[in-house]
């Protein structure tokens, strides 16, 4: 069955990422504890090294690492000595997930809406306005838009809180900043897909039946136009996830992205390693689900067919 084949591909990819991440992290010359060497006596440092398994030969470290991963143990953090990576992830993930989901819903809903309306109004005023906004959306990165939004909506007009997290009000600006670019991309995509579909012969057949125009647009046009957009959802979610890194930093949201960025700054290797693996696994699962739903929705693709 194709699903099984895809599942195995997914597992293999995860393994590759895990290994690649491991190799990259351990290729570093030197010692993550170099900066601490002035603070602690050498015996303590040696202890810490063995605590992190850093004194064992590389292949054994690898096996230990894989073993730990299978039990979902990502190890302790170096920077935050009393916390494990798992705890950090558990702390930060809810905020990031909420932010990401909100942005996703906004991007998909409004992206589809604007794109479809633009296609139906092809070459009209609405089409130009929507396309103009879309070009704006794909040109201005979220991290440039965000400070602008903060400056006006929070500082000057005092409509929304400046930063941090808590109430629904706190999530508006971050979600909007994050959602704009994906929204623009979706809008452009569905617009061109709709335009292509509307030129197809089966739309004429539907029209000739005398059914209402809403039926034609929804059941015949949108149904077909949306299929390529679904195949695009996977990479879109990937972009959304990486987008949370900068947005959380700008808005000081205590999410996983911010912890990740901080750990990079602090060179907290276990955290970097652990969160990278975590993000990658989440992403790959999402891609797998997206691919699956694409195949389920388009009746022309058989689940058991060979190849792509």
């Amino acid at each position: 069955m194709l699903i099984l084949k895809r599942f195995i591909m997914m597992a293999v990819t995860i393994w590759v990422i895990v290994t690649v991440t491991f190799v990259i992290m351990h290729v570093i010359p030197g010692d993550p504890f170099a900066s601490d060497s002035t603070n602690y006596p050498p015996e303590v440092l040696a202890n810490m090294r063995s605590e992190y398994h850093l004194d064992e030969p590389l292949p054994i470290q690898y096996v230990d690492y894989l073993r730990d991963l299978c039990t979902l143990d990502l190890g302790p953090s170096i920077e935050f000595k009393s916390r494990t990576v798992n705890q950090l992830i558990a702390d930060g993930f809810p905020a990031s997930a909420l932010l990401g989901l909100q942005a996703l819903v906004i991007a998909v809903f409004f992206g589809l809406l604007f794109g479809i309306v633009a296609a139906l109004n092809h070459n009209g005023i609405v089409d130009y306005i929507v396309m103009g906004l879309a070009i704006f959306g794909i040109s201005v990165p979220s991290f440039i838009l965000a400070p602008l939004l903060i400056k006006y909506f929070s500082v000057e007009w005092k409509l929304l809180p400046v930063a941090s997290w808590g109430t629904w009000r706190h999530s508006i600006l971050p979600s909007l900043s994050l959602a704009l670019m994906p929204m623009a991309i979706i809008a452009r995509f569905i617009r061109s897909s709709m335009l292509e579909v509307l030129n197809q012969n089966y739309i004429k057949t539907a029209d000739a039946k005398g059914i209402g125009i809403v039926s034609i647009i929804v059941k015949h046009a949108i149904r077909n136009a949306i299929i390529p957009v679904i195949s695009f959802l996977g990479p879109l979610i990937a972009a959304l996830i990486t987008g949370t890194f900068v947005i959380e930093k700008i808005f000081a949201i205590p999410g996983l992205g911010k912890y990740f960025v901080d750990s990079i700054f602090n060179r907290d290797y276990p955290v970097i390693l652990g969160t990278t693996v975590f993000f990658s696994v989440v992403l790959i699962i999402v891609l797998f689900v997206a691919d699956l739903s694409y195949r389920l929705i388009d009746p022309r693709i058989k689940l058991t067919s060979k190849g792509d």
Partner: protein, 314 residues
């Protein structure tokens, strides 16, 4: 009332070949000329092209237009708003923003263009080999399969995450950023190239050339390559802004080029802290330049794509 002779004149037969009924009204023109005129007609794409040209020119001559260097500090002159002396103002270390912005243009554009070019090169080679080898016996198919599996696995790996990891271990700098960006970015190009080659291979003129005994490299160079040039260039116009975006993104996380070298991304990052205290010019100029460049590339790329692949619009 027509007279008899007038009537006879009306009914006089006209020989067929004296009438031209097969005028070819439009002269045949070269492909690239057609493309160029199509782009020129598209005002938006034209605008994009002009903007890019201006940015490149300014990147070269901009810093020379003022007496300040991008790295000269002058702590007493810190944080001055744009005025007649410092057209773009100064940053908190008193460095001239105009000079830094155009210097940053050089850095950002260099990173974007080089990363994109390397990507395209690798993608061409891998995709090209894969596409050409497919169907040429067992060995050919094996090569194609292996390369394609590799591409599939790499495609699923989150691009930016790998880049981040790489930059964490290599010290971030101009060269390392370019390398890190190109390492996984070639994958989409490889797929496109392979698809194109597979399609072109079906064309009869390739089979004809092969039957005539033309050596492989000639087939690739003369027949396959020119037809792919269009797709390659279009891809380039979208890969470069992606790379520029990625670079500014990385700078924001702290993995960009290191001071005193400045790219637009690092300048935006530096400007974050002061946005609330009203020093808008710190973020505005680099931010605007990034957006403008992305806009120009996207719009030009759109126009190029339309020109090369005309769907009838009515």
């Amino acid at each position: 009332m027509a007279t008899l002779s007038e009537e006879r004149a009306l009914f006089r037969p006209v020989p067929k070949h004296s009438l031209d009924n097969e005028q070819i009204k439009r002269p045949l023109t070269k492909q690239w000329k057609i493309t160029l005129t199509s782009i020129l007609k598209n005002k938006l794409a034209l605008l994009g092209m002009i903007i890019l040209f201006v940015i490149v020119v300014m990147a070269i001559i901009g810093p020379h237009l003022v007496p300040y260097n991008y790295s000269d500090q002058s702590l007493t002159n810190g944080n001055i708003a744009p005025n007649s002396q410092h057209w773009f103002g100064t940053d908190d270390l008193g460095r001239d923003m105009w000079s830094r912005t155009w210097y940053g243009a050089r850095i950002s554009l260099t990173i974007g263009v080089f990363a994109a070019l390397i990507d395209i090169f690798i993608g061409l080679v891998v995709g090209g080999v894969s596409g050409y080898m497919a169907g040429r016996g067992k060995i050919g198919d094996r090569i194609d399969n292996i390369l394609m599996r590799l591409v599939e696995v790499l495609y699923s790996i989150p691009y930016l995450l790998v880049v981040i990891l790489l930059l964490v271990i290599m010290k971030p700098g101009l060269k390392t950023i370019i390398i890190a960006l190109s390492i996984t970015g070639w994958v989409s190009m490889a797929r496109i190239v392979r698809g194109q080659i597979l399609q072109l291979k079906e064309q009869e003129y390739v089979a004809a050339a092969q039957k005539l005994g033309t050596p492989h490299y000639k087939i690739i160079l003369r027949h396959l390559f020119p037809n792919m040039l269009g797709i390659i260039i279009v891809n380039l116009t979208f890969t470069i802004p992606n790379a520029i975006f990625a670079e500014s993104f990385l700078s924001f996380i702290g993995l960009g080029v290191q001071a005193p070298i400045a790219s637009w991304g690092t300048m935006c990052n530096d400007a974050l802290g002061v946005i609330l205290s009203g020093q808008w010019w710190r973020l505005f100029f680099p931010g605007f330049m990034i957006s403008l460049t992305m806009f120009a590339f996207n719009v030009f790329g759109d126009g190029l794509q339309d020109a090369l692949d005309p769907h009838s619009r009515d």
